[in-house]
Symmetry: C2
Subunit: 218 residues, 2 copies
């Protein structure tokens, strides 16, 4: 009757099976997509009976959402900016770290899922921004703001600058891969982007450049 005798703790043993189901489902959804992944295959791959799967998750949708939620949690690998190094090195390191992060199969698969299923599961999009992109670029924006505050660089709008910088890199080195296309070597592209960024944000610019935030609407 007591909590300690009847339930011990709610699912110490069941938790293991549950995890293996979620892991198998993750692999299935990431590689096959929502529609093509079958519950029978997931159960088999998890070494569980189909009934057990349905005892943990009432429906395929629920299992899918659990999978995506867990993927978002595992996404927390926000590249740090080595701010003790010179800006060129710091930016280069951050860029490479972010690329490594973005190109993990879980991330590319998740992006493909969100894009493909954003009609059936509109709520996934919102979480993607909040839990994925936001935390990933925040350190860069903070670093740029610090550079600006120290007077090392002129960065009127860190978010805009970060977006420009990362977009320039991802355009060649990340997005093509999402569509199964080949990507060029990282090094030269990143170096070029870093040079362009530093050239564009030097202090002591003569004139004709941005001196305030890039004029977002009033």
């Amino acid at each position: 009757m007591s909590t300690a005798s009847g339930g011990v703790s709610p699912g110490v043993r069941g938790e293991a099976k549950r995890r293996s189901v979620v892991e198998a489902a993750t692999r299935a959804f990431l590689s096959e997509g929502y529609g093509a992944a079958s519950m029978d295959a997931i159960a088999a791959e998890a070494g569980a009976s189909k009934r057990t799967v349905y005892n943990h998750f009432p429906s395929k949708r629920d299992l899918f959402r659990a999978v995506v939620a867990r993927l978002y949690e595992g996404l927390n690998a926000p590249g740090r900016v080595p701010s003790d190094r010179a800006p060129a090195e710091a930016l280069t390191a951050f860029a490479h770290g972010l690329l490594t992060h973005l190109r993990r199969p879980e991330v590319t698969g998740l992006l493909r899922l969100v894009a493909a299923e954003h009609r059936r599961f509109p709520e996934l999009s919102q979480d993607l921004m909040r839990e994925g992109k936001g935390p990933a670029v925040a350190p860069l924006e903070a670093y740029l703001a610090a550079l600006d505050a120290r007077g090392e660089l002129r960065v009127p709008s860190p978010p805009a600058a970060a977006s420009l910088f990362l977009g320039g890199i991802k355009e060649a080195l990340f997005w093509p891969g999402l569509f199964g296309l080949p990507v060029p070597e990282d090094g030269p592209v990143v170096d070029n982007a870093v040079r362009a960024f530093l050239r564009g944000h030097r202090v002591g610019e003569p004139r004709g450049t941005v001196t305030r935030a890039p004029d977002t609407p009033s």
Copy 2:
């Protein structure tokens, strides 16, 4: 028996039905995805009988490929660069044109399809680059090369510069939309990207900048 009497021309009448089937299939695939679109629904929406659909296309895969091929053809709306205007204006105009092009439902839907189905249909990716992206950015690269040749701007590697420029814009204004996320207003972001680009490619740079192509592999 003769070609002129027996066949008249191969399918003058049948061509109309075929087109309406392809159009209905296009709508279905773009909005539902490959797996979720049903042949029954496509036939109904095309005002055709299911048998007619299968008389024109032996399988769902074939219909899908016909749809994608036709989408690639219709993609030929490569934004021109108004090269008679000042660089700032020309780049701004091109950017807005490209964004309009990219955000058409056919394009976003096609990208989602290619990303989602690139396991089942690997061949789609190759065509996407050749028929979609290549033609779209070529005018910009040519324009940048011309600016460099005229000595108006220093653009050592037009492809790299174009990629950096467009990536910076698409990062904020295009990719989020592909995932169902809101995008900010175009104007400020584009203006900012154009300013940054011009600042980074002025002639008469002191030193420490790129003077040759950014070192793509030998």
